[in-house]
Symmetry: C3
Subunit: 346 residues, 3 copies
């Protein structure tokens, strides 16, 4: 996808640090997996599982942890965190591809909305009234932005994103196709003849440098806003209920659901398909495992999993216990027989 721009290992190390072993003039035109790399590619090793591939790779160079420098004779860059280093090198070779600035002739833009000259508005886009668009925003084909929406400078919405009226996105946000930002929260009250809808009059406030995955939904608040702080990364098919707050730099994997009014701390990592019920508080730096069902607030940093969720080590122990119940039952049966034998003897 990228043009064959070439960097020498020396140029890469000049930008990102690390130590070169081997020819610093080795030319690199792209990143690749060890398995599929060819001579102008740089590969990386961050997971021991792939050591065998290092022995067989045809990469021109590799990025390794300082401790692994002896595992190959290839030209190599040694560093403290090969995965992060690779991320930086990949970004160097693969800048985002963005269409030319301008408004597609099929886009519809209502009165009171100004489009900066640097913005790119795709085919079939609908933008309501009084929308504020920052410099360089990219709005993909088929997106719908309601009245009074705000999108910060440098943000990009891929094709077919919906943003309901009044929702605000920060700078350099990236939103994938099918995401829905600002639909009504699930607010209903039981009346004699059925459910009565509670108008959802809050909005959605999304910080800077947030990424939102495909078909993910972030509901607007019932009264106050739903808030996604700076640097949060959301994967696909996530449900964020009304009035949830997700703390800065928290990452959440796909299919996770967070029910209304729950507050997630900063720097948390939440595994895929987790479920967090409503009105809870989750502390900073909490790790929640895939498919965990969180039913109580978590006050302390740490690692949690299971259904219902508890400290991960406890959950692992309880699962192990459950799987040995047969054995325990046999021991009880044995005790019963031995004790009965003694009772009968006397």
């Amino acid at each position: 996808m990228a043009k064959a721009k070439i960097f020498r290992l020396a140029q890469i190390v000049e930008r990102f640090g690390g130590e070169i072993i081997g020819n610093p003039q080795t030319p690199i035109s792209q990143v690749a997996t060890l398995e599929n790399a060819s001579s102008q590619h740089v590969g990386f090793l961050s997971n021991k599982k792939y050591r065998k591939q290092l022995a067989e790779t045809r990469a021109g160079a590799v990025i390794l942890h300082a401790a692994d420098g002896g595992l190959t004779r290839l030209p190599r860059i040694l560093c403290n965190d090969p995965y992060l280093y690779f991320a930086k090198v990949s970004a160097l070779f693969n800048p985002p591809i963005v269409g030319a600035a301008g408004v597609h002739k099929t886009a519809v833009i209502e009165r009171g909305t100004k489009v900066p000259a640097s913005a790119s508005i795709g085919a079939g886009v609908y933008i309501g009234r009084a929308v504020k668009l920052g410099k360089g925003v990219v709005i993909g084909a088929g997106c719908c932005l309601g009245d009074k929406v705000e999108i910060g400078a440098g943000s990009r919405l891929h094709a077919r994103v919906t943003v309901y009226p009044g929702c605000r996105l920060g700078q350099r946000t990236l939103v994938h196709s099918g995401a829905v930002i600002g639909a009504d929260g699930f607010g209903i009250a039981l009346d004699e003849d059925g459910w009565r809808k509670i108008p959802q009059t809050g909005g959605v406030l999304i910080g800077d440098d947030v990424e939102i995955g495909a078909n993910t939904c972030i509901d607007r608040g019932a009264l106050d806003d739903t808030v996604i702080e700076n640097g949060v990364k959301l994967d696909n098919l996530i449900q964020i209920g009304h009035n949830v707050r997700v703390g800065a730099h928290t990452a959440i994997a796909g299919c996770t659901g967070i029910a209304g009014s729950t507050r997630i701390g900063k720097h948390c990592m939440i595994g895929g398909a987790a479920n967090i019920v409503g009105h809870l508080d989750i502390a900073d730096r909490v790790i929640i495992h895939a498919a965990a069902v969180v039913t109580k607030s978590i006050r302390k940093a740490g690692s949690y999993g299971g259904h219902p969720a508890e400290d991960s080590r406890n959950w692992s122990r309880h699962v192990a216990s459950l799987r040995q119940l047969d054995l325990l039952r046999e021991r009880v049966r044995d005790l019963e027989q031995r004790l009965s034998a003694r009772e009968n003897k006397n």
Copy 2:
């Protein structure tokens, strides 16, 4: 979002009942949380957790349970169900915002479809042949309605909803962005050389006053219809399989999946991320907890949870037992030692 229309407490009580304590002429222009209310706002208390906020609120008036009338000196409305009362007051101050009637010039409407003068059809909408639209329907930007779809009077589809051919929605239904109504059910039969698709020739029949959340999917039936009865409320990212029937006034929270041919009773409440397998019967007034995995029919009203789901009290007891297994194992070890000691003694 609403204009500053003002109601006096006396006018509110005249509409919705309840008892005023304090000045009945107190002017109210909007609802708000106790935490963020200002002097022309009315707040409410329905959850003990927020009592402290009642002491500190700057609201002009509050809605309270009759028993809580002594907790504040603010002008207040006393009633039996503050949450429901608040729902009604909020609806008074926040009527839905709807664009002007008319068909946007970029909408495409096929032959044989008539649009009532009172309807609003947004930009980029596609409507197939022989579609029936009731009075006052609102079809948001980018929606796609297949041939022979029917949408009852007063219904609203937000931006980017898809309705497959032949599906029918009742009156006053509300559908959020990204919802897909009437895609093929997952009907496949195993043949020697792989799966063979079973044509999904049934439709989807949705009653009156139904709400459908963002990116929720309701599949068409294999032969007969999939049915969502009156007053059902569905949150976001829900999957309703083919030939499911959801009984009237049942509410289902986000990320829940209901597999094919299962029948859910009336007035049920189903928590988020629940999973209900296919071909089951769930009775009326059943409560299913978040993340429950329902693998058997439920014949009796009550509360169910867990994986696999069982009576909630049993599930809680079993979880508690599991967490005390260490203790039980120690008791067994102790018994073994004591018994061995006696056996060796004799």
Copy 3:
């Protein structure tokens, strides 16, 4: 939905095999459920649960297993697999309904893309540059196809599907509304000041005869491709992470999530709402039950379920054990009392 084309039982058996009992000239115009069939319909029985309906059906004929031939006096076709037979008969009466070939005047097609005369491109479609479309492809209203996408002959995208740049779909694929193919995988690396995005430079490669459900997401690979092999069937609201490989003829039910780099074998069946963590290997012909949480590789064909997943029979036994823990605890208490009694006696 289908025109009243009529086939005689004899004509059906000529095409699909099986044995007729009763009048071979019985006219059939459509398939139906036993419950709702009328005299020109053919019903089928494949699930014992519906035997009672066979006694009461008004169908003109029925499809039965050879062993069930004596259960009715209606004209009938006997075969080895009534469900599969019904699938074939239903396909005969219900061929897909496809609009006329041609490009809708509101569709936008960029330079370098040629549309075959046999293709049908719907209203409001956006197709990027250098896209390759096979013969007879159908692209529904509102779809967005990025640059260099490839769609094989005979494939159909329903309304509002998104395909990111460079993704390739095989022949006769069927994609439902809201599906997103090729959004960025969830690739982030932790840096001192937050998460750093890893460019997702791989693509998505989808084989022939694949079906993809509504609002399902298949992420593009981080470096190499995400691969969906021939004949795979995916239900709605499924998440397929980057670099996953799904083996040929595997079927996956709705709401399931498969995390990055996991490889699923061929001919697997995966129940709804299952969660499979990343970097695992799942063997061929594995059956995974609904809501299973798979945390380890599965090397052997078989049936797996639970949280965390294990052999299904073990999981069932462990659930039963858990539910009898009260009883075990009572037995231990009884032992303690009996042993104490003896100890005190002596």
